[in-house]
Symmetry: C2
Subunit: 484 residues, 2 copies
């Protein structure tokens, strides 16, 4: 097909590509990964749990392209905008890879003039971030988003989002977790009463957001030294952001002589109270904490914000953290696995007339969850099956390929999941070994005698039990034994 | 949060984005689309059919990143390489969006030294092609690939790939179809015996590939005038490429005094014979045609190639074609919906030592199928449901929000798909109307009297029948009525 020198050349240059791909440095730089069949089996299980929950709550689903017009993404992500991947200008519009699913969702609502929808969207997003692949942080990663758009009564959809997080983390069985809640209006009100100048709200908020990774001392240093805040203001903030509680804390702060001076803060605190009331009806308050240190980085939040963290490191991930030299304290919180909040202004930014569509939503941080599930699967003695094959069509003698193909065709047509070896004369032993490795529970064995008698020898791989089944009964017998 | 002038500015510039997006020109240039909930419901149905088939045949699944190193894609797609999307150089490796799923699969096998696998992969690929969105041709589109890698006996995996195409097109019920088969070795042998110079095989092959869109006269013109082939050679090719048949044609050509001079052609013809033998065992030869005009564009094929076409235009798409000014003849073949073949050299191109892993596979052209299914759904009187909600929790009187939330929480916890209106005091009529629009079959109506009696009024939306059900029996009653 191609001349030899050309092929040699191609092989040489492609070998180089593979060597690059395999080197630690390159894969780190690229920050992406392939999913092998075992990882895919785990991924499918996690997705199924999440999708089942989203559907239980009546969500529709939509899909948007992997790239958006560059200008659609501009001015939505604050300091993180530098992490957006751009496509090369090859003529036509300037395009960028999506950074999250929220901005494309808002663009979709505005473009189609949709004012009410409850939708989920599961897709990959792209960030030119510093990858940390052992911790499940990649440059290409999945987001699983659930959002409710529409003008509704306060805190009812917001409470449902938290109920969803609660259901999903419970079902995935990842260990204990906490859902922190706060409100952007409370943060802004707090900044105002602590004496933060208006134009520093967003940048001080970004610094507060680092409290889950930095000590208060370091956060304070950044506020005072880098962002030019007065020491006094910083100290006042420090007092508030150490506060955690439930509905009682919201009530106390509504009485707080400073906080109560801010109308914004009071609106936020009243909503937190209402939220807790609804969460009580959902029986999920045991996991929910009102935490004044929760800030969240993104620009577009306007009301309630929340973030779920696993509070117990699994044995495996704790060991990993130790290997990476992290200290014991760090491994207490293995990081955020879900987050979201209310963004009432984003859709209006895409509408020519600025018409607002209030939205609230949550995003499940699935890569982190995959990592934990994969480590769990590694540690478990049970083998992960990567196919659902019910039966292997095998032969005990030579020259029975045609008979095998005929039988497997019948099985496929009856909806049975079946495999056959792609050899004219495979050894029975190798056919049986394949079944053991792949976890296939049954083997249909054809031989001269069976063909004469109009039967198939059905072998149960686990017990090695063998019975003759007539061809007429074979399909129902396979279903009976494997579709329990 | 932001100052007013800034918001005004943002609204103005974003309004501009939306106007651009909405204009015919821009969306055409971008060549992508959003999927709305109805389209997603159809897409899910199609995917389920395809995945069920792939799983029935024992395939595992893998996933690869949306972008590859640019050099991975270089030199794999012949003249079509110009359609590859590159990412902007923002530091680090040069990256491109994947053009298909086959090259990433080969790269994955070589990188992980995998010599045997049967896998499917469903994901989006990217081509900077001229979009034709009414015909289901986009710049971002799904491919559904099934491939078998490994050193096996001839034509057994190849026959399974064709069986899979047959099963999927049957199950999707898109009307009649044909699967054309040919072999690259037969094409090359034919070119050789017709006097095409060695270095013109690939380019003449590309011209033959246009026979599904151009007349023989135009194809011949391109061969002679643009590609410098002799008229005599072109005429000889013309005779061969008009031939269609089954196993008999392969036998006849093995006796053909010219064709039989090519060892390559004979190897291909013998394999076509063997292929038809296996296809007979699978009972699918009624749809399969050995067609010497089938060429397929991609460089990497080395043996059997195939392509499935729908032969009957559905009423709707015929009407569409007519509107677009296409003539009646064109609408007889509505285009390729699946294609594939054998590529024994591709994996070796990525292996440092050039180790070969023979592969054969098929790709289902799903966008075309979506288009047809969407048109079918539009034409059908049956409404496509976009959620699976079983019941709406409603109230007949005011001030029952807390009771509704409590009940729906119980239902969710029991796995029931349920919705509630996000209003404190929704009207009963608007709750019932919502059910009719969304196709929700049941309503649980709460009222003061029902709460006192410990019952729920269960209303069947279609018949308006209402019965009182005790709270204890509610969940089993919902399941009984909706999980038939």
């Amino acid at each position: 097909m191609e001349d030899k020198a050309q092929i040699q050349e191609a092989i040489k240059s492609q070998g180089e590509v593979v060597r690059k791909l395999k080197s630690e440095k390159a894969s780190k730089e690229q920050g992406t990964r392939d999913y092998n069949p075992k990882q895919m089996a785990i991924r499918e299980k996690v997705f199924n749990t999440i999708i089942r929950c989203f559907k239980r709550h009546g969500a529709e689903t939509i899909d948007t392209p992997v790239f958006e017009l560059k200008e659609t993404l501009t001015g939505k992500y604050g300091e993180d905008s530098k992490l957006i991947y751009d496509l090369k200008d090859q003529g036509g519009e300037l395009l960028s890879l999506r950074y999250d699913l929220t901005v494309p969702f808002a663009r979709y609502l505005a473009m189609n003039k949709i004012t009410n929808i409850k939708r989920y969207h599961i897709a990959k997003v792209y960030r030119r971030d510093n990858p940390a692949m052992t911790r499940g942080r990649y440059r290409e990663f999945y987001q699983c988003d659930f959002d409710i758009a529409g003008q509704y009564d306060a805190m009812i959809p917001d409470a449902e989002c938290l109920k969803i997080v609660h259901e999903i983390l419970n079902e995935l069985d990842l260990g204990d977790f906490r859902i922190k809640v706060n409100d952007r209006r409370i943060l802004d009100g707090m900044f105002a009463v602590c004496g933060v100048p208006d134009d520093k709200f967003r940048t001080i908020c970004s610094t507060v957001d680092k409290l889950d990774k930095m000590s208060w001392e370091d956060v304070k240093k950044e506020m005072v030294n880098e962002k030019g805040l007065s020491e006094e203001a910083a100290d006042q903030i420090g007092e508030y952001v150490s506060m955690q509680g439930g509905m009682d804390l919201a009530e106390r702060l509504l009485q707080d002589h400073k906080m109560s001076q801010s109308k914004q803060a009071c609106a936020g605190l009243s909503d937190i109270k209402l939220l807790f009331k609804y969460l009580q009806l959902f029986h999920v308050t045991d996991k929910v904490v009102f935490d004044l240190s929760l800030a969240r980085g993104l620009d577009y939040y306007t009301g309630v914000i929340y973030e779920a963290v696993l509070t117990q490191a699994s044995a495996v991930s704790a060991a990993n953290e130790a290997q990476n030299g992290a200290n014991a304290e760090e491994s207490v919180s293995v990081g955020s696995v879900a987050g979201g909040g209310r963004y009432d202004g984003l859709v209006g930014m895409f509408d020519p007339k600025g018409r607002r569509v209030p939205c609230v939503g949550v995003s499940i941080g699935i890569e982190r969850i995959f990592s934990i599930m994969e480590q769990k699967a590694e540690a478990s003695p049970e083998k992960v099956r990567t196919t659902e094959v019910q039966i292997m069509v095998a032969s005990a003698q030579k020259n029975l390929l045609e008979e095998r193909l005929q039988l497997i065709s019948e099985l496929w047509n009856a909806g049975i999941k079946a495999e056959v070896m792609y050899k004219k004369n495979p050894k029975l032993l190798s056919q049986l070994q394949y079944c053991e490795e792949a976890g296939i529970p049954l083997v249909a064995i054809l031989g001269e005698q069976e063909l004469k008698d109009g039967v198939v020898k059905l072998r149960v791989v686990a017990t090695r039990e063998e019975v003759d089944i007539s061809r007429a009964d074979l399909i129902s017998e396979i279903k009976r034994r494997t579709e329990a």
